[in-house]
């Protein structure tokens, strides 16, 4: 091992340069049009960023541009999900991770409230049953 | 060999195709620009007069004899043959409607020298018996009698005698060892003998050693006009023989376009050897005399004059500046035509057209181009340096009822010559 360590192996120093490839600007225009539609017609738009051919640095540029707004939510269902409003109200950044901590979806939603934050009908029904069962248990003498 | 046959014609076409012809045909893209340079098209609007189209028979021979694909097509029977009917139809295009003026060769974007090819195509027309009857008989007269107009030395001798008597100047004849031997055109002898007198006066003043040759005075060459090198050679040979016999240093071409071409540019190639003498056009000689101060002029005219450039002398002969220099010797009010010098428009009668009665109506029609060009200048006198142009223009102006005096440049110089009395 020592011999290997002393062998001079030149390592090129590489400082990654972030180039602007111009792919974020059209996307921002699309977001702007979607926001206008939301304001006027109330139409909800979802953009799947996995389908956008980002170059290196493009994604960070977009996220930096959108910034952070007032609301931020974390969801724990089959891995984490982060849903946060950007500095532009009505524009939400949604990221889903799987249980192994890898991002499986990256979206921008232009909506008043991302649907995933709402309690779901099926879960409500299940919750109601569970709650009723719990109350039944309590009435039967169990301590609340 | 006797008589003209299609076979001899085809062989002649085949002989005439050379590398320039092959390069020209390979390059033509049928863009039609040559039509716009040709007065036979511009004045009639008939596309059949498009210069390059006039070469269809020669083009077919080139294609079928000298290109791989053409030979193949000919073998498979797909090629359009050159027939006697085709050549008959093309007589009008190769003779009546082409004066060999060479203007088309100046505009062709790919650089085709169309008049070079028309001259060559006529060889095939002659050998196949498709040359116009009038030009044919002129050629016969030239060979048999000595001049296309049937004029013999007797006539010249009479003119010489008359001029000598009237002017009192001796005209040297058959003087061995003279420097210059001027040639004359039949037209000058018959229609414009003033030219001979003008020469005599100018040469006397400039102390030029010169002589006429009784065996070789005729400069015109119907072999060139009809397009037969064999006939042209015979006629040129007479001049060469005369000049060599008199051991002159220089032969002077007269005010005649095609005569200059035949003796200056084609002559040595026809006889197959360089001349032992120089050939100059009379305007070149006069310009030399002017430049060396041997002739001077006086009483310059302020009449508005313009100059018609004879195609064979100017565009195709290269005598471009001399006429301008000489005009400045005689006139203070010289105006150029809009297209002049190498861009000049033809009078419509060169290349044998004026000798061809079939072409007469067409020639008068297309003369409109020249007439308009002259009128545009507002000149009251027209000068030129070609007896044929002069006759054709006179006839044309008469047809269009335009009154305008015409004069030869040499005579004009003689008129203003400062002479030691």
């Amino acid at each position: 091992m020592n011999a290997l360590n002393t062998t001079p192996v030149p390592i090129e120093k590489f400082t990654a340069v972030e180039h602007r490839f111009g792919n974020t600007l059209p996307l921002l225009h699309e977001i702007s049009h979607a926001l206008h539609r939301l304001q006027v017609e109330g139409t909800v738009t979802t953009l799947d960023l996995n389908a956008v051919p980002f170059g290196p640095g493009d994604e960070r540029q977009l996220v930096d541009f959108l910034g952070r707004g007032e609301v931020s939510a974390k969801l724990e269902a089959m891995g984490d999900s982060h849903i946060r409003e950007s500095r532009y109200s009505g524009v939400w950044i949604v990221e889903h991770w799987n249980t192994s901590g890898e991002r499986v979806a990256f979206q921008i939603e232009i909506t008043k409230l991302p649907a995933l934050l709402e309690a779901q009908q099926e879960d409500i029904a299940e919750s109601l049953l569970m709650l009723q069962a719990a109350l039944e248990n309590a009435r039967n003498g169990a301590s609340v | 060999m006797t008589g003209a046959t299609l076979e001899r014609g085809l062989n002649a076409f085949k002989e005439q195709v050379d590398a320039p012809v092959a390069a020209f045909f390979s390059s033509c893209v049928n863009c039609g620009m040559c039509a716009e340079a040709c007065l036979f098209y511009t004045e009639t609007g008939d596309p059949k007069y498009t210069p390059i189209r006039k070469l269809e028979p020669l083009r077919r021979v080139w294609e079928q004899e000298y290109t791989v694909l053409g030979k193949l097509k000919k073998m498979l029977g797909l090629a359009r043959p050159v027939t006697d009917e085709l050549l008959q139809e093309w007589q009008e295009l190769l003779y009546d409607s082409c004066t060999l003026c060479g203007r088309c060769a100046m505009v062709c974007p790919v650089g085709n020298d169309i008049s070079y090819m028309v001259r060559k195509a006529r060889e095939g027309m002659v050998a196949s018996g498709n040359s116009p009857a009038d030009v044919r008989s002129a050629a016969e007269r030239a060979v048999r009698i000595g001049s296309p107009m049937g004029l013999k030395y007797k006539a010249l001798a009479a003119q010489i005698k008359r001029i000598e008597t009237e002017s009192g100047i001796k005209i040297p004849l058959d003087v061995e060892g003279a420097d210059y031997m001027p040639l004359l055109s039949s037209m000058e002898i018959i229609n414009f003998p003033e030219y001979i007198e003008a020469l005599a006066r100018i040469f006397r003043q400039a102390k030029v050693s010169w002589t006429l040759c009784s065996e070789a005075f005729e400069a015109t060459n119907t072999g060139i006009q009809i397009g037969s090198s064999d006939i042209a050679r015979e006629l040129v040979q007479r001049i060469v023989d005369g000049a060599e016999k008199l051991r002159v240093k220089c032969v002077i071409a007269p005010e005649c376009g095609h005569a200059y071409t035949s003796i200056r540019w084609e002559g040595p190639n026809l006889i197959g050897r360089p001349f032992p003498f120089k050939v100059l056009h009379i305007l070149e000689l006069l310009d030399e005399l002017r430049a060396s101060g041997r002739i001077k002029t006086e009483n310059l005219s302020n009449e508005r004059m313009t100059f018609h450039d004879p195609c064979s002398i100017v565009r195709k002969g290269g005598v471009i500046d001399s006429p301008r220099e000489l005009m400045a010797m005689v006139s203070t009010n010289f105006v150029e035509m809009q297209d002049h010098g190498k861009w000049n428009w033809c009078c419509g009668g060169g290349g044998g057209v004026s000798a061809n009665t079939n072409a007469e109506a067409l020639r008068l029609k297309v003369f409109k181009r020249k007439k308009d060009q002259i009128e545009q200048t507002g000149a009251t006198k027209l000068i030129t340096a070609c007896a044929n142009c002069r006759l054709v223009i006179e006839e044309g102006l008469e047809e269009y009822h335009v009154e305008l005096p015409l004069e030869g440049l040499t005579e004009l110089v003689a008129q203003h010559l400062v002479e030691d009395k």
Binding site: - | D18, A19, P20, A23, S26, N30, G32, M33, P109, V110
Partner: protein, 220 residues
């Protein structure tokens, strides 16, 4: 199966080799055919020289004479448009330059694609105008034979297919590119045997014209 890729590979492979070979062999045969006919030595005493006037005419005939330009502006303008469009697209498009570099071992700088694209559009426009001119101008109409129209098609197709391939207007792309290459191959194969030869022989023709005139002391 896989038609368009097979087609593309065929056009980039066998067909390209064959057509380039035919082009070169044909060109050489044609040039030899022309030059072998010779030109008689001119025995007349020259007034001027041949070489420089010949070169001068090679260059000067690229510009039209004013008088004829005024009479036939469409012929001149359409001619310029399509020749420039064609030459720019052919010689200054970077993918084409790479092909030349591979063939000859050297290349040259190209132009940005939008400029080449514009040149191609001009070229296509020029060719359409030239066709219209050929069909309507009485002189050209009379002169034109089937070869003129064949040559027009052979010239038009590479520009058109190149334009369509670049803008990916034919799908899939291998088909578009294959068609483009095929159109070039057609052009190459027929080039030596049609008046497309003028591309090369015009230099000869102009030189002969200029030299013969130059000898007589005339700038042609």
């Amino acid at each position: 199966m896989n038609e368009s890729m097979d087609f593309l590979l065929w056009t980039r492979g066998t067909a390209f080799d064959v057509s380039v070979a035919i082009f070169i062999v044909g060109m050489l045969i044609r040039l030899f055919e022309i030059v072998s006919l010779g030109r008689g030595r001119d025995l007349a005493a020259p007034r001027g020289t041949e070489f420089l006037p010949g070169i001068r005419t090679i260059l000067s005939r690229t510009l039209p004479y004013g008088g004829t330009f005024k009479r036939q502006p469409l012929t001149v303008i359409a001619g310029y448009l399509f020749h420039i469009g064609l030459l720019v697209s052919l010689l200054l498009f970077i993918p084409h330059i790479e092909l030349f570099r591979e063939t000859f071992g050297f290349g040259w700088p190209g132009l940005p694609n939008p400029i080449v694209d514009a040149a191609a559009v001009l070229g296509i426009t020029g060719l359409l105008a030239a066709l219209w001119n050929r069909l309507t101008n009485p002189v050209m109409k009379m002169l034109s034979d089937s070869e003129d129209y064949l040559v027009w098609i052979l010239t038009f197709l590479p520009l058109l297919t190149g334009y369509l391939a670049y803008h990916r207007m034919i799908n899939p792309y291998p088909l578009a590119m294959g068609l483009h290459i095929l159109s070039i191959e057609l052009l190459l194969v027929l080039f030596p045997f049609t008046k497309l030869m003028h591309t090369f022989t015009l230099f000869l023709a102009r030189w002969y014209n200029g030299a013969m005139s130059g000898r007589r002391g005339v700038e042609s």
